[in-house]
């Protein structure tokens, strides 16, 4: 499932995928895969992304039960 909240939070700070990727020390492909829902990041990377985007884990990565299904 696509992570639109991550995409929106990044856009809000006017950051490109590449800039976010550099800030959390991963490749742009990884950020792209997370936003597309193709890759489930580790909690360590989730926290790094949250710190950079000034968001909580819940705001970016929490999924309701109906979303998960």
């Amino acid at each position: 499932m696509k992570n639109l909240r991550l995409k929106a939070a990044r856009a809000l700070l006017d950051m490109s995928q590449k800039e976010l990727a550099d800030a959390v020390h991963v490749s742009r492909q990884t950020i792209n895969a997370i936003e597309k829902g193709d890759y489930n990041p580790t909690i360590k990377l989730c926290r790094a992304i949250c710190r950079v985007l000034h968001k909580t884990l819940d705001e970016l990565f929490w999924e309701d039960e109906e979303d998960e299904g």
Binding site: S27, Q29, T30, P41, T42, K44, L45
Partner: protein, 153 residues
């Protein structure tokens, strides 16, 4: 020196790399076994495949030992009698097939038949015995590891 061995991959690339390495490992493993069978069939000389055989066995033993050490059996199969029986039959059939490719075609049908039965029975019994032993071992190891985790709490 430390910088030289720095991991340049991020976590997703690392997972992809592990996936690629896993697939390549199994391809190499199967192709090595096939290469040994073909070489034996063509040359009939066991000495010709000694190097490959040692490599194959070292890798196999290390893999089994590491899995047992971590209490891991298999992704899909459960460590029970049914699995042991199933795998032993497959191993017996595989041994007969390998032998057929290597030298049965040189024998008379009767000799090949007797040899096939003997090969199947010996492989089946040895495999079943080893599997039964390993199944019990991995179950005990798993219980021990579970208990260790409980003690940590």
């Amino acid at each position: 020196m430390k910088g030289k061995w720095k991991n340049n991959l991020d976590e997703m690339q690392e997972q992809e790399m592990l996936h690629i390495e896993k697939n390549c490992f199994w391809l190499l493993y199967v192709m090595l076994a096939a290469a040994m069978i073909v070489q034996l069939a063509v040359t009939g000389e066991h000495r010709m495949v000694a190097g490959e055989f040692v490599c194959f066995m070292v890798v196999s033993v290390i893999m089994v030992a590491q899995c047992l050490r971590h209490g891991i059996w298999d992704r899909h199969l459960k460590p029970d009698g049914r699995t042991n029986l199933f795998v032993s039959i497959i191993a017996g059939a595989g041994a007969v097939l390998a032998q057929a490719l290597i030298f049965y075609w040189k024998l008379s049908p009767a000799a090949a038949g007797i040899s096939a039965v003997i090969t199947f029975v010996i492989t089946f019994v040895l495999c079943l015995t080893a599997m039964t032993f390993l199944t019990n071992f991995v179950k005990k190891k798993k219980q021990k590891l579970e208990k260790e985790d409980e003690d940590d709490d």
